[in-house]
């Protein structure tokens, strides 16, 4: 199918651009999700300053493309954007932006929520915590 803006990007994600890319005349509800790096302190007081994201780019992009295609099949999506950043994402910055525009808002909420949940489950992207003291650790939720 190949509709929508699906990309893995190594520079800061732009919410304005993502939103405008789906802001078409035939939609009435737009839901935009941003996953941002949240400040954290671990037990011994170290502070998280960033997350480093690494992708298996060819596979991750194909998976994201498939999620986008499935969203178009499951909901009456007018336009969507599914953007994932790689590289260092500092506290407050988004690592992912998903924008979904549909004629009615319920579908936009559902489709956007579904895409971020699926993305987290299966897309070949990994993150590593970068702490203020220079230490780093990979995040592997199920391991």
């Amino acid at each position: 199918m190949g509709r929508g803006w699906v990309e893995i990007i190594s520079t800061p994600l732009d919410v304005d651009l993502a939103t405008k890319s789906v802001q078409e005349a035939d939609v009435g509800g737009i839901v935009v999700f941003l996953g941002t790096t949240r400040a954290e302190k671990n037990a011994d007081g170290r502070e998280l300053i960033a997350l480093d994201y690494e992708a298996y780019p060819e596979m991750a992009l194909a998976q994201m493309r498939k999620l986008a295609d499935l969203a178009y099949e499951k909901w009456p999506v007018g336009e969507l954007a599914l953007l994932h950043r790689v590289g260092r994402v500092r506290v407050k910055e988004p690592s992912v932006i998903i924008a979904v525009a549909t004629p009615h808002r319920a579908d936009a909420f559902e489709a956007c929520r579904w895409m971020i949940d699926e993305l987290k489950k299966s897309v070949a992207i990994w993150k590593k915590e970068v702490w203020a003291d220079g230490s780093r650790s990979w995040v592997h939720p199920e391991s």
């Binding site: 596979m59 994932h84 971020i116 897309v123 070949a124 990994w126 592997h140 939720p141 199920e142």
Partner: protein, 83 residues
């Protein structure tokens, strides 16, 4: 036959490389290739029971039979998307 193995994240760092060629017997499965990989790269051997595998960029079960030239990716639990 040869398959091109790709390593990511913690596995890439532990092995000190993101890619390697594995020489395998005809008819070898993904699970069998993982055993060979663990012998070749002992630093990642104990991770290999907790990973998923993709052949040519699609997730596959361990009993999948490999073919010459396949790209076999070792996929640690993913963690993309959110902080």
């Amino acid at each position: 036959m040869r398959v091109n193995v790709k390593l990511f994240a913690v596995l890439r760092e532990r092995a000190g490389k993101g890619e390697l060629l594995l020489e395998l017997g005809e008819g070898e499965t993904v699970r069998g290739a993982a055993v060979v990989l663990g012998e070749r790269e002992p630093g990642i051997a104990n991770y290999l029971s907790r990973v998923a595998f993709a052949v040519n960029r699609e997730y596959v079960p361990g009993e999948t039979v490999l073919r010459d030239g396949d790209e076999l990716a070792v996929i640690p639990p993913v963690s993309g998307g959110v902080g």
